[in-house]
Amino acid sequence: MSQVFDRLQISGYRALKSVNLSQLGQVNIFVGDNNAGKTSILEAISILCNPLDPFQWLEVSQRRLYLGRSQLMTLRPNIEALKWTFNQKIGASNDEIYQAEILIEANGTAPISELKAKLGEIYGSGVEKNNQKSFEKDISSPEEEVSSPEIDSVRAGLELEIEVNIDSEKIPSGQMSLFPLDQKREIFLFWENERFVQRRRSKPIVKNATIFPSYSSSEPILERLSQIILQKENGKNEVLELIRSFDDNILDIQILSTPTATATLYIKHKELGLAPLYVFGDGFKRALVIALTLLTIANGVLLVDEIETSIHVSALGSVFSWLIETCRRREIQLFVTTHSLEAIDAMLEPQIATDNVVAFRLNNNGQAPQRFSGNLLHRLRSERGLDVR
C-alpha cells in the first residue's frame, strides 16, 4: 500500500549528509546510537510537511534549545539555531561566505516531491539605539547587553530561500487553492534580535504533528481538548471514541472547576467514577495526548520522538497496538524513534501486522541506514533474541 511517504532522501539536514530511506512502511521505527540522526530525521520530515511556513523552520530549529521546558515558543529568531539545522562545513574558514543547502526528495501520496532550501548570511544597517534598549528591556537578559556601538551599526541575519515541487494531482480537491502552482518559491529574512513578522502563514502541505519526550508532563492537555471541543462540533465524541478504543471503561471526559482550584480535566470511569486525570497512569495520559494529536492529522504524518518515554514497560504493548491500529484506520503514517528494545518488541506483538512495520538503524559512521522489514525485525527479535538498536 502506498504511504504518505514511500521514500525519502534527506541531504544536508543537520549532520545528515545524505540519507536514503526507501520502502517506508505505515509504521517506521528509527533506532541507533546517540547522535546518529534519529531526531534529525523527524525534524526534516516535519519541515518537509510544512516547508513554506517560516515559523515551522524557527520552531523546529529551536526545539532542542527548549526541549524539556514548558515554554517552547520564543519571541525572536535564533540565527545560530537556524544555521545548525543545515549541515555545517567542518573547518570552513571564517572568510568564506556562508551558504548551506538542504535537499529533501520524496515519493508517496504526499503532494510534495522536493524541497530545496538555501541558507545564506545577510547583513543590514543597525537598529536605532532607543529601539534596541526598549527591546532588551522587554525580553532580553542583562548578560546579552554586550554589543559595542560599532557592532550595533551592522546587523547579522539569514536569508532562507525555499523552493518546493508540488504535484498538484495529489492535492485533495478542497485544498487546490492553497497550492495553485506546481513549483513554489519563497524567501524569508531573519534578523538577529529582531522579532520575525509575516503577514500570512502557509498551510501545511501534509498534516503533521510531533510528540516530544517532554510532552508527557508538560503538554497542555486541557487547552488542546478545549480547542477541539470549541472548533469541531463532534470533537469531544471523536476524542472519546479514540480513547475508548484504548480503555473501554472511559464513559466521559469533562472539564470541571471548583472555587478553590483551577479547571481540571476529569475522566468518568466505569470503576473509578468521576476522577481527575492526574490519578490515572502514564499509559493513559500518553494515549490521551496522542489521541488529541491524532484528531488533527488524518491522512497525515505523526512523528514521535522517544516513543517509550513515560510509558511503563507493562503498558507499552497496549499503547502501541492501539496507536498503530488508530493510525492505520485514519491513514496516518507513523515515524518514531526509540532507544528501547521493549518498545520495539511491543510494536512487534502478534496483534500488530509486521507487514506494516519497518525499522531503520542509523549509524554515525556515514554508512547508509540499515533497513529491517517487519518480518526480518520480528525474526531478529523473536527467533534470535538479537539487539537491533
Partner: protein, 257 residues
C-alpha cells in the same frame, strides 16, 4: 587484517564436526564474551527466553579465532532456517567486511544434492550474495564475500553426516562399528511400538543409531557432539578419506586468502 568467516550449518553435530577441521588452522574456541572480537558481538542474543520458549536453546554461534582468522559457526536448527539465519545475521553485522560465507548441510534421501542446492540458492538469491554456480565450489567475486555451499556427504550422493562418520569409524573404531552393526541389525522390532521406532525408521535412522551406539561407548551419557569433539572421528588417519579431503579442500578455499 582479520578475515571474518561465517558458516551456517544444519545442526549442532555439523558444527562440532566442522570445528574438528578448524583445529588444523590453529583456531581457538572463544568461550568468554569479553574475549570475543567485537565484529561478532551483534550475533550474541540479548534476550531470554527466545520466542517465549523456556526450553529453547540460546541460538548463539560457536566462535573460533586466532590473530588472522575469526570464524562464527552457526547452527540454524533445521534446513528451513538456513537462509533466514544468514539473512538475519548479515542484517546486524557489518556484512561488507565479511571475508566468506559458507553453508553446510546434509543431502538426505528425499532430494538429490543438486535439487537441495538449487532450492537453497533460490532462497539465498534475494540477499545479493555472489552465489556459486556449482555445488562445493567457492565463489570469489571481487568486492563481495566468498561464498560456498557444501552438501554432505560429498556434494553428489544422497546421505548425511553419519555416512562420513561411518567411514571414519571403519578406520578408527572398526570393532565398535562391527558390534554396533550387529546390535542394530539384530533388534527384534516386534517388541517395539511404532512410536519407539519412529526415528529409527527414518531414511537415515539406522546410520544414526549406529553412530550413536559407538558414541555411547566412547562418551557414555553424552551427546554425539561431545564424542565428535573428544574422540578420534576426525584425525590424521581419517583425513586421508576422500569425503574428508573434499570437506577440507572446501574449507581451505573458503578460509585461506
Amino acid at each position: 587484517m582479520v578475515r571474518y568467516c561465517y558458516i551456517v550449518a544444519e545442526g549442532p553435530q555439523d558444527i562440532e564436526f566442522l570445528i574438528c577441521f578448524f583445529k588444523s588452522y590453529s583456531l581457538k574456541r572463544v568461550t568468554l564474551l569479553s574475549k570475543l572480537d567485537s565484529f561478532w558481538e551483534p550475533l550474541v542474543p540479548k534476550t531470554f527466553p527466545i520466542n517465549d520458549d523456556l526450553m529453547k536453546r540460546v541460538p548463539v554461534p560457536v566462535f573460533l579465532q586466532n590473530s588472522e582468522l575469526s570464524v562464527a559457526l552457526h547452527s540454524a536448527i533445521g534446513i528451513t532456517r538456513l537462509s533466514n539465519t544468514i539473512e538475519e545475521s548479515l542484517a546486524i553485522i557489518p556484512a561488507s567486511e565479511i571475508f566468506g560465507i559458507g553453508v553446510f548441510l546434509d543431502a538426505d534421501d528425499v532430494e538429490t544434492p543438486q535439487e537441495r542446492f538449487d532450492k537453497l540458492k533460490a532462497e539465498l538469491f534475494p540477499l545479493g550474495l555472489s552465489l556459486p554456480s556449482t555445488l562445493g565450489e567457492v565463489m570469489k567475486v571481487k568486492g563481495s564475500p566468498k561464498c560456498g555451499i557444501f552438501i554432505a556427504p560429498n556434494n553428489n550422493d544422497s546421505g548425511t553426516l553419519e555416512d562420513i562418520l561411518l567411514e571414519c569409524a571403519k578406520l578408527n573404531y572398526p570393532n565398535l562399528l562391527s558390534l554396533s552393526t550387529n546390535y542394530v541389525s539384530s533388534i527384534d522390532t516386534n517388541q517395539l511400538t511404532s512410536s519407539d521406532l519412529k526415528d529409527l525408521n527414518k531414511p537415515a535412522g539406522k546410520n544414526k543409531a549406529l553412530i550413536s551406539s559407538i558414541s555411547s561407548i566412547l562418551r557414555p551419557g553424552k551427546t554425539l557432539q561431545v564424542s565428535i569433539r573428544d574422540n578420534r572421528w576426525i584425525d590424521e588417519k581419517t583425513m586421508a578419506l576422500d569425503s574428508i579431503k573434499l570437506i577440507k579442500k572446501f574449507l581451505d578455499e573458503f578460509i585461506l586468502p
